[in-house]
């Protein structure tokens, strides 16, 4: 079931209403049933994968809890790793590696047809396997006591607001919340609904509108050049932010309505002053997952500098692969890894340059420049993320340089959107960015709730009317569903 579907507009109020009617002891079972139903609306048979992952990690957790020595717990950790990564590999990466192997062998004149599997990528597989894995690792490390209630553990893996696209929650945060009785709290419900409204606005009014432009340009890169491809990439940066952060807002808001707190996933990432800051503000639940379960076990920065660079690069390479079984994602991850290593290596040089040029004495200008450069490094990397192939990505870069400022070229710049919709898209993006700018200065939540009722309602109506009158209702999936 999609958040932006008619079914969800019926499903969610029914779930919330029933949830608050039920006594606390039945709520986990109801939410688990609702979460499984939510997933089954997409493809019922793939629920089996979630159940397998749940059962294995539950069993591994219980067994690890019985053993005091960490070394002896290892075999159960391996079981959990093998099961989750095995499911992930089989359904997400098997065909990619098969195909890549076939192409690699061809280079040596070895022609071998590798087997390909004809199955759909299960929605949200990367999210729930990582969430489930984090529990096993935490129990193995002794940072979390095993959950003995199978039902609540199953709910932790499948909790519907964040099941298919995160945030990737940690068991230490989410599981205890299922034990805590929740009562109806008007202010919290309103706060959750407000966040959902903002998420729907970003998804339906902005992301899905600019996606029309992006899809046209990126699916036919040979037909466009210069400004169109540049604008398409700016639009993609907006699209992926609005799509994914919109999903996160709806997920966090939906959970908040029912009294559960999910972790913040985005904090105005495009205002970051460095790539490392960007990754502390973009898809935070995944970045921290990789930090805690991959980067630190690899040694983090407490190793010699070359090993440190290697660790950083590897984490981002794997993060790229996590996003999708395609070389474009691997390249995108590698590019971010390179950015980070380069930033470390060039720190002294950049500081000296700032002093020499006088920028060091103008911190506001230096910060603005840092934001600008960081944004454009991220922007450049998005080309690889969105392009249909590595070849397309390089073609797009090449054709971006073919700038044409003739009347004809400028006249056709609105592309598939048409001038009217193009301007509507720009107006809504400007509105969102103004809100973001405002958010960088004050706590919007606090500021907003202190406003008089008429003002708050005015904002709600503005967002609701923007959605109902200017939303794009093509029932498009969220980008991160595919990961």
């Amino acid at each position: 079931m999609l958040f932006n579907s008619f079914e969800f507009t019926l499903f969610f109020p029914i779930v919330v209403f029933t949830f608050f009617l039920l006594p606390h002891r039945f709520r986990w079972a109801f939410l688990l049933g609702a979460s499984y139903y939510f997933y089954m609306c997409w493809k019922a048979e793939y629920l089996v994968l979630i159940i397998i992952s749940t059962l294995i990690d539950y069993f591994a957790g219980i067994q690890m809890g019985k053993i005091s020595e960490q070394a002896k717990r290892k075999k159960y950790l391996y079981l959990s790793l093998l099961a989750n990564l095995g499911i992930l590999f089989s359904f997400k990466y098997a065909n990619f590696f098969s195909e890549s192997m076939r192409i690699a062998l061809q280079q040596f004149n070895i022609f071998y047809e590798m087997p390909l599997f004809d199955w759909l990528l299960p929605v949200g597989i990367s999210f729930y396997t990582f969430q489930s894995l984090s529990y096993s690792i935490d129990v193995y490390r002794g940072e979390k006591t095993p959950e003995h209630h199978l039902g609540k553990f199953a709910l932790y893996v499948a909790f519907f607001p964040q099941l298919v696209a995160g945030p990737i929650e940690r068991s230490v945060r989410l599981l205890p919340q299922f034990d805590k009785p929740v009562s109806f709290d008007y202010d919290r419900v309103v706060s959750g609904l407000r966040l959902m409204l903002w998420g729907f606005f970003k998804k339906l009014v902005i992301a899905d509108r600019v996606a029309i432009y992006v899809n046209e340009a990126y699916n036919h890169p040979a037909e466009y050049q210069g400004l169109v491809l540049i604008i398409a990439t700016y639009f993609f940066a907006v699209q992926i932010y609005c799509d994914f952060s919109g999903y996160s807002d709806i997920a966090i808001g939906a959970a908040r309505v029912m009294g559960y707190d999910l972790m913040t996933n985005f904090r105005q990432p495009y205002f970051s002053r460095s790539i490392s800051e960007f990754w502390r503000r973009w898809h935070i639940s995944l970045s921290t997952w990789f930090k805690d379960y991959l980067y630190i076990p690899l040694g983090g920065n407490r190793v010699d500098k070359y090993r440190w660079y290697f660790n950083l690069f590897m984490v981002f390479l794997i993060s790229g692969l996590w996003h999708g079984a395609n070389w474009t994602f691997v390249f995108w991850g590698a590019l971010h890894g390179f950015y980070l290593v380069f930033a470390i290596v060039s720190t002294n040089f950049r500081d000296s340059l700032a002093k020499l040029s006088g920028l060091a004495s103008l911190p506001w200008l230096r910060n603005a420049l840092k934001v600008f450069v960081t944004y454009h490094l991220v922007w450049f990397a998005w080309i690889f993320f969105r392009a249909n192939s590595i070849g397309d990505a390089f073609l797009i870069i090449e054709r971006m340089l073919m700038l044409d400022f003739s009347g004809d070229a400028l006249g056709n710049i609105s592309l598939a959107l048409g001038t009217g919709e193009f301007l509507i898209a720009l107006a809504f993006i400007a509105f969102m960015e103004m809100v973001h700018l405002f958010q960088t200065r004050i706590s919007l939540q606090q500021w907003f709730t202190a406003r008089p009722l008429y003002f708050r309602w005015l904002v709600y109506y503005t967002l609701l009317l923007s959605i109902t009158l200017f939303g794009v209702f093509s029932r498009s999936e969220f980008i991160y569903f595919q990961f």
């Binding site: 009217g420 509507i424 109506y461 009158l469 209702f473």
Partner: protein
């Protein structure tokens, strides 16, 4: 209680604000198009493709007719009402671009009483059976005058764009501010009174001299399954019930296609069987002309891979007329019918 009354107030104010917003977007025009059309992403150019504008400009001139044809573009490019008129029959072709059974149902609901036909010929085409009806509704809300069927259509499509289109058409009708459009000339095709659209690029050629080579797609035919939208199938049944309740007869029909074209539809037989079983359930005929012997030739009687050319239309309409007579839908002696 306080929460409940606040919720009700919020909803009521929202509905008023929504209506106000819809009025604004409907009356503000950009290039003679209401802004609402941009907001709903309606791509239809008024008075252009499909000739829906003149069709619905003349529909009110028709009443107590003998035959009405409903369906998609395959309908308005196939059933030539002039041929029926020359046989003394009053016919009207209500086909519109992308018209799905859902759209046909609400159009019939709006116009059946007025047209009051003896027979409804419902052209079923597999191509529109997996659509939701929004494309057709965009066309109707742009080119046809507001009618009560718009609400049912919009709600059944279940897309807010459709609802916004419906409310905009209603507002413009209410304020008497519906934009006035004129039909553009289109190269190679012409509208004929009665609703049929004729390919005119054939009129100078004799059938005997005309030959259109059929090109097989490069890489051969790639058969694909067409998944029928169950809700559209349900609307076929609702149309049959509606027409029967009105006391008219109904025929389900699939017009002939080049046999080569059917090679790309892997489950054509299944689709045809689905249509036939609906017809059988209501004890009405379903004539699938892709399964009935006919003299139409791919190279001579088709304009392209989908539509008949005027030579094909003449042959097919004569054939249909004869079948309607022999099966008792029309009197045997047409000259005595009037």
């Amino acid at each position: 209680m306080r929460i409940f009354s606040r919720l009700v107030t919020f909803i009521v104010v929202f509905l008023i604000a929504y209506f106000g917003g819809a009025v604004l977007l409907s009356v503000i025009n950009i290039g003679n198009r209401p802004l609402m059309k941009i907001a709903t992403r309606n791509p239809v150019i008024p008075g252009d493709f499909g000739f829906t504008l003149p069709r619905f400009q003349e529909i009110n001139q028709h009443q107590n007719i003998d035959i009405v044809f409903v369906g998609s573009s395959h309908c308005y490019r196939t059933y030539d009402t002039r041929i029926f008129a020359s046989n003394g029959l009053r016919a009207f072709n209500m086909g519109t671009t992308g018209q799905t059974p859902l759209n046909s149902y609400y159009l019939l609901k709006a116009y059946l009483e007025k047209l009051n036909p003896q027979v409804v010929v419902f052209d079923l085409n597999y191509r529109v059976m997996n659509r939701d009806g929004l494309e057709s509704f965009y066309d109707l809300s742009t080119n046809a005058p507001y009618n009560s069927g718009f609400w049912g259509m919009a709600l059944s499509i279940g897309n807010p764009h459709a609802f916004n289109e419906a409310i905009s058409s209603w507002i413009l009708d209410l304020l008497n501010k519906a934009p006035q459009y004129t039909q553009k000339d289109r190269d190679g095709e012409a509208y004929t009174p009665g609703g049929y659209v004729e390919f005119t690029d054939y009129l100078e050629v004799n059938e005997a001299d005309f030959l259109q080579p059929w090109e097989e797609p490069s890489g051969g035919y790639q058969p694909q399954e067409i998944e029928l939208n169950r809700s559209q199938l349900a609307y076929i049944a609702r149309i049959i019930e509606l027409v029967k309740s009105h006391g008219a007869k109904i025929v389900l029909l699939t017009k002939p296609e080049p046999q080569e074209n059917l090679k790309v539809v892997a489950n054509y037989d299944e689709i045809s069987t689905d249509f036939a079983s609906i017809a059988a359930k209501y004890d009405i005929p379903f004539w699938d002309y892709n399964k009935i012997a006919h003299p139409l030739k791919t190279e001579k009687h088709y304009h392209d891979k989908e539509y008949l050319n005027p030579f094909g239309v003449n042959i097919f309409n004569a054939l249909l007329l004869r079948q309607l007579q022999t099966e008792g839908f029309l009197p045997e002696n047409l000259s005595r019918a009037k």
